[in-house]
Structures are given as structure tokens and as C-alpha cells.
């Protein structure tokens, strides 16, 4: 696991990636601590206090039902991050499995899997996601699963390529000749050594999934109210974007900053991984 740690250190020497890392940590901690730091119950209604501008009492103002926007943002962040992380978890798991199969067994298994990858890559994935979520009824679980099921192709290719190149390396050839079992080969040699690029792609994947949820919310197919997510808070607020600006500005910035954080860190990691910047990978 030493490679990963040194990789992170290396990535964090880049100010942009460091900023990304800090953003991710802050957003994560704030969302997890939502029950403690949120000033109000996110679902507490006060019809006497609807659409209040940001003030000392309500840092981010109140929404159309007098609910505290800051509190809803904090709780909504949990949902948005959950969607992102689980979706990426699913796609990464599928990607590792299929990529490992293809890269390890090669031959027709490889051909079949890579053709499936090609088919999936040629279908406009947003169309696929829209159709499946609409037909299955939008819910947090469905959204996570569908995003996961439609975004595993990149990881698959990555893992396959990694396996193919590692198989040529001496230490793998050696264990193979020594009669190591397939599972041992995969789990002790191949997988751990392909982990870094997988992590990079997972970090970038979270960014994509958070953004995807907001797009789905805009189309009415995201996380459903009254459950708050950044995507649906932003969608609710878009109607009043010029007037009750706080309803859309804060969720918009939250998505922007979080997605930016994941992208910067992911990119920094990828850069650090790249041989041209002189890593000892």
C-alpha cells in the first residue's frame, strides 16, 4: 500500500490537488456531521418565515416552506455524496471484475467482455440512464444503481490493460511458473498493483456522479422531494434564480466546489501517477 501513500503525498505537493483534497475532506466532514452542525432540523417548517434572505438566523436564507437552507444543504450533501460514492462503488466493482476476467483469461472471454464494453460505450449513456430511471421509478437506490451500471466501462478497460501489462512482468511470470493458483495470482499480485489507476478513476467518477444527480434532478428524475439533495435544492431554486437567489446560489456553488475538488484531486493523482513526472511507480 506504500505506493498509494507516496502517490497521495506526491499529488498533494501540487497546490491544486491539495485544494481539491481539502475541499473533499471539508465537504465530507460537514455532511457527516450534519446532525451536529446543522442549526435547524432540515425539515422544520415555518410558514411565517418563507423565502427569507440570508441573515444571522439563517445563513443561507429559507426556502418556500420556511425551511433553513443551510441545514437542508448539509443534509442534502450527505445524499449527494452517498449517491456519488455508492454509484462509483458499483461501477468500480463491476469494472474490476470484468477487467480482471478479460485481462487474466484473455482469449474469447476478453473478446466477449471488450465487445460488451464497446456496445455500452456506443449507447449514449445519459439516454440510457434517463430511460432506465424513468421506467424503474426514480429513487435514491435506483439512481445509484443505474449510474453505477452505466459507467463501469472505463474501469474495465483500465484494469484489463493493467493486468495485461503486469502479466508480462517478471514477478508475475515467476509466480505463474512456480504454480501459483489463479486466485492467488489475481489477489496478491495483479490487483494490488493495479489499484492506483483504479483509485484515480474512482475519484473522478464521484465528480461525474454528483453532477449527474443534479442533471437528473433538473429533469425531474433525480432524488425525489422532500428528501433533500443538492441537485433537487438547486432545481427547486432555479425558478426564482433572479429573486430568491440564495435558493440556487448555494446549492450551485456546493456542487461546483465539490465536483471541482474531486476533479482536481483526481487529476493531481493521475499526474503524479504519470511516469513523466518522475514517480518511482
Amino acid at each position: 500500500m506504500n505506493t498509494q501513500t507516496s502517490l497521495l503525498q506526491k499529488a498533494l505537493s501540487n497546490p491544486l490537488s491539495l485544494a481539491g483534497f481539502i475541499i473533499i475532506v471539508c465537504v465530507f466532514v460537514l455532511s457527516m456531521l450534519a446532525p451536529i452542525v446543522a442549526p435547524y432540523d432540515p425539515n422544520y417548517i415555518d410558514v411565517k418565515a418563507i423565502l427569507l434572505e440570508p441573515s444571522i438566523q439563517h445563513w443561507m436564507g429559507t426556502d418556500g416552506l420556511g425551511r433553513d437552507v443551510l441545514s437542508r444543504m448539509l443534509y442534502g450533501g450527505r445524499i449527494s455524496l452517498l449517491v456519488g460514492l455508492v454509484a462509483v462503488g458499483i461501477s468500480t466493482a463491476i469494472g474490476i471484475l470484468l477487467g480482471a476476467l478479460a485481462g487474466f483469461y484473455r482469449g474469447w472471454v476478453d473478446t466477449l467482455i471488450m465487445r460488451i464494453v464497446d456496445v455500452m460505450l456506443s449507447i449514449p449513456s445519459f439516454f440510457l440512464i434517463l430511460a432506465v430511471i424513468a421506467f424503474l421509478t426514480p429513487s435514491i437506490i435506483n439512481i445509484m444503481i443505474v449510474i453505477g451500471l452505466t459507467s463501469w466501462m472505463g474501469v474495465t478497460r483500465l484494469v484489463r490493460a493493467e493486468f495485461l501489462s503486469l502479466s508480462e512482468r517478471e514477478f508475475v511470470m515467476a509466480s505463474r511458473t512456480l504454480g501459483a493458483k489463479n486466485s492467488r495470482l489475481i489477489f496478491t499480485h495483479l490487483l494490488p498493483n493495479s489499484l492506483t489507476p483504479i483509485i484515480v478513476s474512482a475519484v473522478l467518477g464521484v465528480a461525474g456522479a454528483v453532477l449527474m444527480e443534479s442533471g437528473l434532478s433538473f429533469l425531474g428524475l433525480g432524488v425525489q422531494a422532500p428528501q433533500a439533495s443538492w441537485g433537487n435544492i438547486l432545481t427547486d431554486g432555479k425558478e426564482y434564480i433572479q429573486f430568491a437567489w440564495w435558493l440556487s446560489l448555494f446549492p450551485g456553488l456546493a456542487i461546483l466546489i465539490t465536483v471541482l475538488g474531486y476533479n482536481l484531486l483526481g487529476e493531481g493523482l493521475r499526474d503524479a501517477l504519470d511516469p513523466r513526472s518522475g514517480t518511482n511507480h
Binding site: 464497446d118 449514449p124 432506465v132 421506467f135 432555479k238 434564480i241 476533479n263
Partner: protein, 340 residues
């Protein structure tokens, strides 16, 4: 080269079947049917008329039979008729006995989406290539970092939010650009030059905003490509031969760094088509994305299946063209050392 081409074309057949399977069976995930659209929630509509609709569209046949019937028709590019009450052809126009032409839904929508995406791609490329070169040449300098940051900000903004902000700022407050739609109401009475201006101003926001959000990927690609190429031996040789840095970058390195871009553009087609849903909805543009979204919400299965299939087939064709172009440009591939 010819053999390579034949092989690539033949590979498309199993892929098309795979695509058709996926798009067909996805439609049958839900028990919803045509009679569930909004129109049926009218106190005066009766169950009998719903039943009639169901029979009319064979929705009661087994799925396998439906797939068979559909695949058979798809071979002849017959994607059927929309479930909507107008029953327009999904793909291409038909002419009735009186010579009235009914245009196909995809026929109407596809050129619009293609035009917007091609314009967008042009803008993206014309910004991304110079930005990528600068970033590569000033690698890890402040130029590189600000380009990366700027690109990622564009990439990380929810597109519809940015669109609404810019629509308000440029369309309402400053009145510089039309807010939504494709043409002015008096478009038909304008002369050619004004028509061009009118179309340009209407398409400005819907073309530029997605280009900004799509900038990051291509810029990075160009940057990394340049970085790779600049470290290659022949560049070092060129430098050693005393060629000017300018010449090295723009004649030798750029050409080779841009080659893989062809493949990337081919691969980005499905994203461009799919990503058009939100932009077309917000800017009131009757393209493929809007058509697909409406069809999904109305459970208009023939249109959903038709767009998935045609959109994917277009991607295959796009990839094929990209590969052929790449092969044509890169002698190593031409000689048959092609990648899978």
C-alpha cells in the same frame, strides 16, 4: 487498408445486435404502457378507449414476439410509428395517398442536434488546442494551473444553472442574445444575411455553454499528448538539430499530439448526443435530446428505441470514421498494426 475497413464494418453487425437487445429490453423494465400518459387522466376518458389503444399497438403480445417484429422492421430501417396520437413515423418521412409528406421525428430532430454539436465541437477544439499547448509548454507553471482550474470550473458547474444565469444576464438584463428558441418569429421574412445573424444569435448560448463545460477533457488530452510527444526522441533530435522551439512545437510535436484526438472525438459522440437533453430542454430546441426526454416521459417506446438504436449506430459510424481517419493519418496503422 481495405481489409482493415471490411473487418471494422463487419464488427459493427454483432455490436448493432447487442445495442438493439439492450435498447429493446430496457423498454420492458416497467409495466407502464402508452395508455398511462397524462391525457388519460381525464374524468371523461374511459377504460374502453385505453383498452383500444393497447390492442392497436400490440402491447399485449409476448416480449419476444415484439422484439422479433421490431428487429425485422429495423433491418429495413423501419422504426415504426410514434405512440403519440399523431402516430408520426419515428425515423423517416412517409407520404400519404394525397401526396402529403409527414416528416419523421428523428429526421426533424437529428440535423438540429448534429448542427449544434458540430458547432460546439468546433468551438471546443479551437479553444482546447491552444489552451492545451500552452499548458503543456508551461507545464506546472501558473499558466498551466490557471488553465486547469478554469477548465475544471467549467466542467464542474451544473450546466443548467450556468445556462439560466447566462440567459438572465445576457438575455434579460442586457438583451444581447435571445433567451430561448432557434429562430425569431419573423425569421421567414428576413433576408439571407439577417437569417444567418438571427440563427447565430439564437444558437450562441446553447452552443457556447456546453462547449465551456466540455473544454476540460479535450484540453487535458491535448496537454498530455503534447507532453508525451515533447519527450519523444525525435523531438529531442529536432531540438538538437537546432530547430527553433516554435517550429519544433508547431510542426513536429503538434501534428503527432493531435492524432489521437481523432479517436477521442469519435468516442465523445454519444456524450454529445446524450448531453443535449438538458441544453435542449432549457433553450427550447427541438433536437434529439428533447425528443428522447419527452418520449421517455410519455412512454413512447418506438421513439425511445429508435433514438437509442440510431444514436448508438451513429456512434459506431463516428468511431469507424475516426478509426479510418486515424489509419489514414498514421502509417503504422495503415500497415495493419491496428489496435483492437
Amino acid at each position: 487498408m481495405f481489409k482493415y475497413l471490411i473487418k471494422r464494418v463487419l464488427w459493427m453487425i454483432p455490436m448493432l445486435i447487442g445495442i438493439s437487445l439492450i435498447s429493446f429490453f430496457i423498454m420492458h423494465l416497467a409495466p407502464g404502457d402508452i395508455t398511462n400518459n397524462e391525457a388519460s387522466f381525464n374524468p371523461k376518458a374511459s377504460e374502453e378507449s385505453r383498452q383500444k389503444l393497447r390492442e392497436m399497438y400490440n402491447l399485449d403480445k409476448p416480449i419476444i414476439v415484439q422484439y422479433g417484429l421490431w428487429l425485422k422492421r429495423m433491418m429495413t430501417l423501419d422504426f415504426g410509428k410514434s405512440f403519440a396520437s399523431h402516430q408520426k413515423p419515428v425515423f423517416w418521412q412517409t407520404t400519404d395517398a394525397d401526396g402529403n409528406v409527414t416528416e419523421g421525428l428523428i429526421q426533424q430532430a437529428l440535423p438540429i442536434t448534429l448542427m449544434i454539436n458540430l458547432l460546439g465541437l468546433t468551438i471546443t477544439l479551437s479553444l482546447a488546442i491552444p489552451l492545451g499547448i500552452i499548458a503543456a509548454r508551461k507545464y506546472q507553471g501558473w499558466q498551466d494551473r490557471s488553465i486547469t482550474l478554469f477548465n475544471f470550473i467549467g466542467f464542474s458547474i451544473p450546466g443548467f444553472w450556468l445556462s439560466l444565469l447566462l440567459m438572465y444576464w445576457l438575455g434579460v438584463v442586457n438583451n444581447w442574445f435571445p433567451i430561448s428558441g432557434m429562430h425569431s418569429l419573423n425569421y421567414d421574412s428576413l433576408d439571407t444575411w439577417d437569417k444567418i445573424k438571427d440563427t447565430f444569435s439564437h444558437l450562441f448560448l446553447p452552443v457556447v455553454i456546453p462547449s465551456i463545460t466540455g473544454l476540460a477533457g479535450i484540453t487535458l488530452f491535448v496537454k498530455n499528448g503534447m507532453l508525451d510527444v515533447l519527450q519523444q526522441d525525435y523531438i529531442t533530435t529536432a531540438r538538437a538539430k537546432g530547430l527553433g522551439e516554435h517550429k519544433v512545437v508547431y510542426t513536429h510535436a503538434l501534428r503527432n499530439a493531435l492524432l489521437p484526438l481523432i479517436t477521442i472525438i469519435g468516442l465523445s459522440i454519444p456524450g454529445l448526443i446524450g448531453g443535449s437533453v438538458i441544453a435542449e430542454t432549457i433553450f427550447a430546441i427541438p433536437g434529439m435530446g428533447k425528443l428522447f426526454y419527452d418520449a421517455v416521459l410519455m412512454r413512447d417506446f418506438p421513439v425511445v428505441m429508435g433514438i437509442l438504436t440510431i444514436g448508438s449506430a451513429l456512434t459506431l459510424v463516428g468511431n469507424l470514421l475516426a478509426d479510418v481517419a486515424y489509419a489514414w493519418a498514421d502509417p503504422r496503422v495503415r500497415r495493419g498494426v491496428a489496435k483492437a
